[in-house]
């Protein structure tokens, strides 16, 4: 029953996006813009935000990038919580093509105020066309890297649509000097030292505690007195000694 409730809650939280970021792209410095998709941000059980990218590009997306290899691929974002504020980011079309149109959206947010701080768009290197291949970043080598990729773009219909994952990076709080745990640690160490030294509070009597010091003194004293008595018995010049 409890599991079912949790599952329901999960579903409910998954359904309602807390806020969305609308994305549009351009390959000619925003002279022509096309919709790219939306990023939906949701809060999970731990209170952290996770993002999900929903593409709204047409199947010509890849082709558009291919035709603009020397241009800049720019993305403009508007957050639903900050109307009127735009965020711009860019990358090269070649990088995105190399990763088969897989994007990595690096979203920095202020979770407390629910505001977008910045957005960066990257090619998702996990989706590189070949196993073990690395991203070729220089524009000269890019066309070589694309050669193996171009035929498949035309073939596969879904290959033309932008895909992406979202990495959410929330603003944190920097620590202040941790005096509390340091004091606790010192306290702990002090206690440990005490325990090592004499255990817990010693309730034994004075005699029980210090008999080892008292006994030798008593024995020595007794012995001395006996010796003294013997010498007085033998001679009567003890006064001189004194």
């Amino acid at each position: 029953m409890l599991q079912a409730t949790i599952a329901l809650l999960c579903a409910a939280s998954a359904l309602a996006a807390e806020w969305t970021i609308n994305l549009e792209y351009s390959v000619n410095d925003f002279k022509n813009t096309y919709p790219l998709g939306t990023i939906e941000l949701r809060r999970n059980f731990e209170g952290n935000f996770t993002g999900n990218f929903k593409s709204s590009t047409d199947s010509q997306f890849g082709k558009k990038l291919l035709n603009a290899l020397d241009e800049t691929y720019s993305v403009r974002a508007v957050s639903s919580t900050q109307p009127g504020k735009t965020f711009i980011t860019s990358n090269t079309p070649c990088n995105i093509l190399q990763t088969r149109l897989f994007h990595l959206f690096w979203v920095s947010i202020d979770a407390e105020h629910r505001t977008l701080m910045s957005l960066a768009v990257y090619p998702d290197t996990v989706a590189l066309s070949k196993e073990g291949a690395t991203l070729r970043l220089s524009t000269e080598t890019c066309s070589d890297a694309l050669e193996q990729f171009i035929p498949s773009l035309a073939d596969r219909a879904e290959g033309g649509v932008a895909k992406g994952v979202v990495h959410v990076n929330a603003r944190g709080v920097l620590p202040s000097p941790d005096t509390q745990s340091f004091v606790q640690k010192m306290e702990r160490e002090r206690r440990a030292r005490q325990q090592q030294g004499g255990g817990e509070t010693d309730n034994r009597s004075f005699l029980a505690k210090y008999w080892m010091y008292i006994v030798p003194v008593v024995i020595f004293r007794a012995d001395f007195e006996r010796h003294d008595a013997r010498t007085t018995g033998r001679r009567s010049c003890s006064i001189n000694i004194n």
Binding site: D29, T72, S74, K85, T86, F87, I88, T89, S90, N91, T92, N95, L104, W106, S108, D110, T115, L116, M117, S118, L119, A120, Y122, P123, D124, T125, L135, L137, H167, N169, R171, G172, V173, L174, P175, S176, P177, D178, T179, S181, F182, K185, M186, E189, R190, A192, R193, Q196
Partner: protein, 932 residues
């Protein structure tokens, strides 16, 4: 047990302190007083004569008249405005100096002889724009915006008069045995007579509307308030029952007006100097004078670009006119003060470049001799660069040899022989010189064996003092300094001596950065590494007349100006391009002016990105500079989380030459944690004073990615940032703890693999998101400046240098200011010499790099690498300048100072000889034994 180890650990901390005999060996300090705003000659009955100065650096100082040395100086609280040219209000009697300081809040009285504080009184809680002080009838009168206070000479308050209104100008005026206080509020000039009685008499307040008042060009002359209004002189006699405005046309453009207590006024115009008594003209001196002042109310002394003249006021007779030519590297005189002694005249000249000259004029011989000078511009250093000295002759020969490496075998061999002959010649010459110096020393002071040994030692160490070339370890450099007064200096790092200086011109004014602070950028375009070419540095400033940018290029070794370029527009930003042109010069990039570069250079150049901050809108932008098409394009933009309440305080990038030696850090389980070393990373600090929040954002300039962002709650100014390698250190005032705290953020790569190990590219993501580790510490002192040491290869553990308000410069090792110090130390961690977390950074006196040589008001610490990996060169500058060498991880590559070369050589030689002798003896002994 743990505590014992901890205490032991504290005892075994790095002992970075220097030994007593090392003090002053490789460090030096220069103390300054700043540009004088008022000068008084103080004749002491006992002891030497002194000058008593107040300066723009808000200090009161006493200099020895004969030598110019600082007898004492007192640093006052800095006034609120950055460039307050009004002098600190002071009055002097036989024994004491009375001063109104701390923006008019406090009245302090000092004893002239030894600068002891006699008494002080609080005048007001609020800061004042104006402040004046006067001594009258054994009473001290101090006037600030809100109050006039009358005090007895012993410091008891007699009475106080409350004032109100925004005061623009205020003065005390003594006339005919009466004292008046004159103030101007808006256009209303009010005069009030004051009495030295124990209580305030009935207020005799008079006022008049004075529309033609000009704060800059008004003075008091006798009982007159005298103002200049283009070519007209306007006066109001305060001593009269009714305040009436009178005027007089002078027929000259009035530049400056100076008044005397006897009612004389000197009016300086571009071509003459007119002397007035009241509104009546007494006499005119023709000439282009730059400054004039009265002496003893009887004489007038004035200075032009070539002469110093003196006139008698009573009859307008010339007393002397002597030549005093200034070199082209110096500016014109802006102020002078003079005094007459029985035979000669003593004149203190202060230039626009803050060069203070003390000149003694002997009218009988018609001679002016400069007794001493002092470069007070160094009290306001803007930017510092350290430049290597040029290669020595032998180093050049070696370079020559490898430069032309493409010749055939024979020519290479010939080259080698020539080089070696050259080296041999040089060695022979040096040896001959050594022998001669040694010979002369021995003959002059050889009294015993120890003297001979000492002479040998000093002869070998004193070599090379005269030659100006790079030393073996590149420890001696030229410190090139630009100042806010428009003077550029070259300083020898070995001694602190000024090698050269030049003045940037009368039209100099500093640039204002986007964050609102003033700058005089100084950049080294070509180092002296290219020995066929001279080094080149550039200083950039604003022309104060037309606000356009000016770039002056010069040789940093001898200070010769190579070229001066006036730009067409104003300068928004200036930086050095990371490319080299064909003549090995780093070009300058000036926004909005893009330099013309050869296509050859540009084709090889990597794309260039610039961070642009719009402070008003709090929008941060990344711009891509297209040098071929000569335009800027926005690659990213955003608010980076800054709201309208946030004020950006600092933006810190990393120097493009910075080297990070070790790419990773070995963790206790023997795995490697790779540093996230992104050369394009910049740190932005913004403070929200309303909510007391400090935001720290680490962002990639190329992609606009926020790598790390966090807030520090309950934080307040002052904020200091140091950004280096993979870490950021920040200091702030914690409102919560009421203390200064220092924090550190370290960035590491997320996975166990290093992504982009060879070259870092901001256009691709790291495989895993970078991880940040942060920690903060209590710092039981205020912080005025923060910097980090630099070494040649970046191998030595860095130290953070912290300037303290009391004049110390504290060196904190990165091992102490570390984000990964564990709270609980395990046995393995102890074996790795890790230091456990303690919330406070101790400030032991041994860690002050300037031991007892306090440097006050440090506003910058410049570090530079030397040729030795262990050693970093440090220059801390503020009102004082301090230079030293620093070995943050100890001098692991240097023999100790007291390493006895001579003794070890003798022992070694004795051992070798001994072994030969004993071998011989043993052989003969064996032979004898066989015969026997």
């Amino acid at each position: 047990m743990n505590l014992r180890i901890f205490v032991l650990g504290l005892l075994f901390r790095f002992s970075l302190a220097i030994f007593e005999d090392q003090a002053g060996k490789f460090d030096w300090r220069k103390q300054f007083v700043g540009c004088p705003t008022s000068v008084r000659f103080d004749r002491a009955e006992r002891g030497s004569d002194r000058l008593i100065l107040t300066t723009r650096e808000d200090l009161i100082a006493s200099l020895s008249l004969n030598t110019g040395e600082i007898a004492w100086r007192k640093l006052m609280e800095k006034r609120d405005e950055w460039s307050s040219n009004a002098p600190i209000a002071t009055a002097v009697d036989e024994d004491n100096i009375y001063s109104v300081v701390d923006s008019g809040r406090i009245l302090r009285v000092w004893r002239k002889a030894d600068s002891a504080l006699v008494w002080q009184k609080v005048l007001s809680d609020e800061p004042s724009k104006t402040a004046e002080i006067a001594l009258f009838d054994n009473t001290v009168f101090a006037a600030v915006d809100s109050k006039i206070g009358a005090f007895s000479l012993a410091g008891d308050e007699k009475y106080a008069i409350r004032l109100s209104g925004a005061v623009k100008w205020t003065r005390f005026l003594k006339s005919g045995g009466r004292l008046f206080h004159v103030k101007l509020i808006d256009t209303q000039l009010t005069a009030r007579e004051l009495s030295a009685k124990d209580s305030d008499p009935a207020p005799g307040v008079k006022s008049v509307t004075f529309t033609r008042f000009n704060v800059e060009k008004c003075t008091i002359a006798g009982s007159l308030v005298l103002c200049a209004h283009s070519d007209t002189l306007v006066s109001i006699d305060v001593s009269k029952a009714l305040l009436v405005e009178e005027e007089k046309n002078t027929a000259v453009t009035i530049r400056e007006i100076t008044g005397s207590a006897t009612g004389f006024a000197a009016i300086r115009s571009p071509s003459s100097l007119k002397v007035f008594k009241g509104l009546t003209e007494s006499f005119t001196i023709n000439g282009e004078f730059t400054a004039a002042n009265f002496v003893d109310e009887k004489y007038l002394v004035a200075v032009s670009s070539s002469d110093i003249v003196a006139y008698e006021l009573a009859n307008g007779k010339e007393i002397f006119q002597v030549k005093h030519a200034r070199e082209a590297t110096k500016s014109l005189i802006k102020a002078l003060w003079a005094a007459k002694t029985s035979n000669d005249w003593e004149v203190v000249l202060v230039g626009h470049d803050c060069l203070v000259e003390y000149v003694v004029v002997e009218p009988s011989k018609n001679l002016a001799s400069v007794e001493w000078t002092s470069e007070e511009a160094l009290a306001r250093i803007a930017t510092v660069e350290m430049v290597d000295l040029p290669l020595s002759e032998s180093q050049q020969m070696i370079e020559d040899e490898f430069e032309g490496g493409k010749g055939d075998l024979f020519s290479a061999f010939f080259h080698r022989i020539v080089t070696q002959i050259g080296q041999l010649r040089k060695w022979a010459l040096r040896s001959v010189r050594h022998i001669f110096t040694l010979g002369s020393r021995l003959s002059s002071r050889a009294n015993g064996f120890s003297d001979i040994i000492n002479a040998v030692r000093s002869a070998s160490s004193s070599d090379g003092d005269n030659t100006f070339e790079r030393d073996y370890f590149n420890l001696r450099k030229v410190i090139v300094v630009s100042t806010f007064d428009g003077v550029v200096f070259g300083i020898d790092s070995a001694t602190g001596a000024i090698l050269w200086r030049f003045y940037l011109g009368q039209s100099f004014s500093p640039l204002k950065s986007q964050l609102g602070d003033f700058q005089v950028p100084l950049m080294v375009q070509r180092t002296t590494a290219h020995y066929q070419l001279h080094g080149q540095a550039a200083v950039v400033f604003r022309n104060s007349v037309n606000s356009k940018g000016v770039i002056v290029m010069f040789n940093p070794i001898d200070g010769k100006i190579v070229s001066r370029k006036e730009l067409d527009g104003s300068i928004k930003r200036v930086s050095l391009l990371p490319y080299l042109t064909n003549d090995h010069i780093h070009p300058l990039l000036v926004l909005e002016y893009v330099p013309e570069l050869a296509a050859e250079v540009l084709s090889k150049a990597a794309p260039l990105y610039v961070l642009d901050v719009s402070v008003e809108e709090n929008i941060v932008k990344g711009l891509k500079v297209n040098l071929l098409k000569r335009h800027l394009s926005t690659t990213w933009s955003g608010s980076i989380g800054l709201t309208s309440d946030d004020k950006i305080i600092a933006v810190k990038g990393k120097p493009f030459q910075q080297k990070v030696h070790s790419q990773g850090r070995v963790v206790i389980d023997r795995t490697v944690q790779y540093k996230y070393v992104n050369p394009n990373l910049a740190a932005v600090a913004a403070l929200d004073e309303k909510h007391q929040t400090l935001s720290i954002v680490l962002l990639d300039i190329v992609s606009g990615q926020i790598v790390h962002s966090a807030i520090v709650p309950k934080a307040a100014a002052p904020i200091h940032l140091v950004h280096s390698e993979h870490w950021l250190a920040y200091a702030y005032w914690s409102e919560k703890g009421r203390r200064t705290e220092v924090g550190i953020v370290e960035l590491y790569e997320g996975g166990e693999q290093q992504s982009m190990a060879e070259t870092f590219d901001s256009m691709a993501p790291t495989k895993q998101a970078p991880v940040s580790i942060a920690q903060s510490y209590i710092y039981a002192q205020g912080i005025v400046a923060m910097s980090v040491t630099e070494t040649e290869q970046g191998l030595t553990t860095r130290s953070i240098l912290v300037g303290l308000p009391d004049g110390g410069v504290h060196e904190i090792s990165r091992k102490i200011l570390d984000a990964t110090r564990p709270l609980e130390l395990t046995q393995e961690m102890r074996e790795e010499m890790m230091i456990g977390y303690v919330p406070e950074i101790m400030i032991p006196n041994e860690e002050m790099i300037n031991y007892n040589q306090s440097v006050h008001r440090v506003h910058g610490i410049k570090t530079a690498p030397s040729g030795l990996e262990s050693t970093s060169l440090v220059l801390a500058y503020g009102t004082d300048v301090f230079f030293t060498r620093l070995a943050p991880s100890g001098t692991f590559d240097i023999l100790k100072d007291d390493f006895d070369h001579v003794f070890i050589s003798i022992v070694l030689a004795a051992l070798v000889i001994g072994s030969f002798v004993s071998k011989r003896l043993a052989r003969s002994h064996a032979l004898n034994a066989q015969w026997a």
